[in-house]
Amino acid sequence: MAINLLRDAGVPLDQQRFTWRDLVQTPYNKLRDGAFTRVRVILMNGIESEALRFSHACARVNGPLQAALARVRRVEQHQQTLVNWLNPADQSPLETTIGFEQVAIEVTASVAEKEPDPYLAQVYRFGLLEDFDHLYRYSALMDRLTGKDANTLVQSYSDIVPGRPTAIEHRYPLDDLRKPYDRRRAAAISKLHAGTIMAGEHQTHDYYMTVGPGFADPVARQLYAEIASIEEQHVTQYESIIDPEETWLEKWLLHEACEVYNYWSCVESEDHPRIRAIWERFLDYELGHVRFVARLFEDTEGRDAAEILPERLPEPIRYESHREFVRETLRRELRLSAVGPEFVDRQEESEATRAYRDHLNSQGSPSETAAAGYVWRPGTELTDPATRVRAVPPEGERRAA
């Protein structure tokens, strides 16, 4: 399906309507449907969540835009609802977490592979290895808390092995800031990539901050706290690659284009007919938003929307396994860290990062505890008798230990 961002009218804003029944549709099926349907639902919820987040921030400092923002934002609110409510109730928060990490791995890998700017591609690969490790830690937690196998969710598309260990991902805030792309020179795909990954990571952060306290297990509570902190770092990283010199309206227009790009990517890859129809509907809604904002942009700034938007959408996000790309990145870049915006070997980390991390981990590392010695096995690690609890040491020995 060819999309013309500058001409396609989509559905006019005043025709974008919902009922409560419409908003709450039958979810995807956890047992039957493909992992990438879950991945798309989780990412698109994040994309819509970012639409609302941006819109509110923009409204707070742009009085003249408030009315237009409010109209579009209400539709985005309902789009997010419909999408997020596609997650089934029999999918536990920990299971959904596995889905979030698969998003962070496979979508970021697709973006990293396609990104034409070498520095930005490096930024994505850097973040990828950290989220990749989170999948492993949460999988260990799921296995050890509930006796469940995370692969029933990732469906063998993503490896469940350590990445850059979460315990060493903690960096001083200034070492998470990167260099932004130049809004005048960057390719359109670079802007769409940055908006996509920033939105996904921000929603991941918000999700962990919401569900983390719902766990009773102290290690689970600590692990969510720890990984939420890394997601905060990632949001810091990814929002810093976006040119802060873009005007508010330029950013709004790019947000809408990013939504078009993402719904279109979903349409191109979705094999679930009912959910594909939702992506198609919302693609048309977003094209309507692009038209609405483009007109506002042109009227307000006296610039042509074609300065910002490409006529044709770039290659869609590839919703598929990136196993080899991820493994190769692991082999080459596991030891990387960052000092300011530059990527360096771990040996060269800043003193500020070392001190910050050492203190955070000084009373134990949740991610190391949760996955101590963990090797993923089909059907949980319990299928390996060597992992099972043997005998409880006598009280005296325990005290001695």
Binding site: L31, D90, K148, D217, A220, G379, R388, V389
Partner: protein, 302 residues
Amino acid sequence: MEQSPQQGTNRTGIAVAARLGEEMITATREFPPSSPGSALAIAEVRIAYAREGEPLGETAPPSGLMDKAKAVVTAATGGQPTLLMDKLGERLAFERTGARLYETLLSKHQAYGAFSGGPSAGDVLHILHEEYAHADLLERAIKDLGGDPTAVTPSANLAANVSAGLPQVLADPRTNLLQSLEAIVVAELADNECWTALAQLAEQAGEDELVQRCQEAIAHERDHLRKVRAWVAAGQGRTAGDDEGAEMPEAAEADEFTFAEDSSVDREGYVVSEEERAETRETGTRQARKSGRGRQVRRDRS
């Protein structure tokens, strides 16, 4: 360490602040509901969604040609190979979760220590090892029938949701050994019930070796339930009798379950066809839906 809750502050009851409670009631008199009706309004929406809804999921077919052929033969002779696989998956998932529960219970034992009449660490470990062994036997049984022991079957998913609160209770640092054992009773009751059903399904399918293994597991599970009940009773200063609480599951008896005559589902959750319902009305008793299957729907005794 004290196992039972002590008296102290609890702000949840209305009597804690009687005057505020009165004001709460006064408000409901001044500001009536905005819409008429009752809780049944929610039921109407539930029913509407249920009628449009999709099933919870499906069970993958056997992998090999021989296994597929065997399943066809089993079905032709009154067995229910798909249901058997579904329930084997359920028990396997439950035993894996159960093993994690008992591992957590061991931590609880170390944290809170024993109480008089309660389990020793060795007692808990003994049950834990039987749970591991049950998981192993179920994994083998699923493989023997051509199934995939890593798959989540619909019943496994259902059971996981039914019992989702158990790991939460066990992992909560605030729950003591006795409170954790109360959660374990729930797991053991379900285990006893479901192993019995599994044995019956295996028998219908003519899986004699599996029946034998199930019977051994049932013996273990009854022992677990008996012990856990006794520990809970001891913790509460009671004496557990064999006849207390829910009965130990025995082979299903004809009058144990009651269903309304117009119920659209039988005790296993299968939809009863119009023909079967008509047959029930004629005979006054719902007979086995297919001879030899033993899936009976009993009529309402009321």
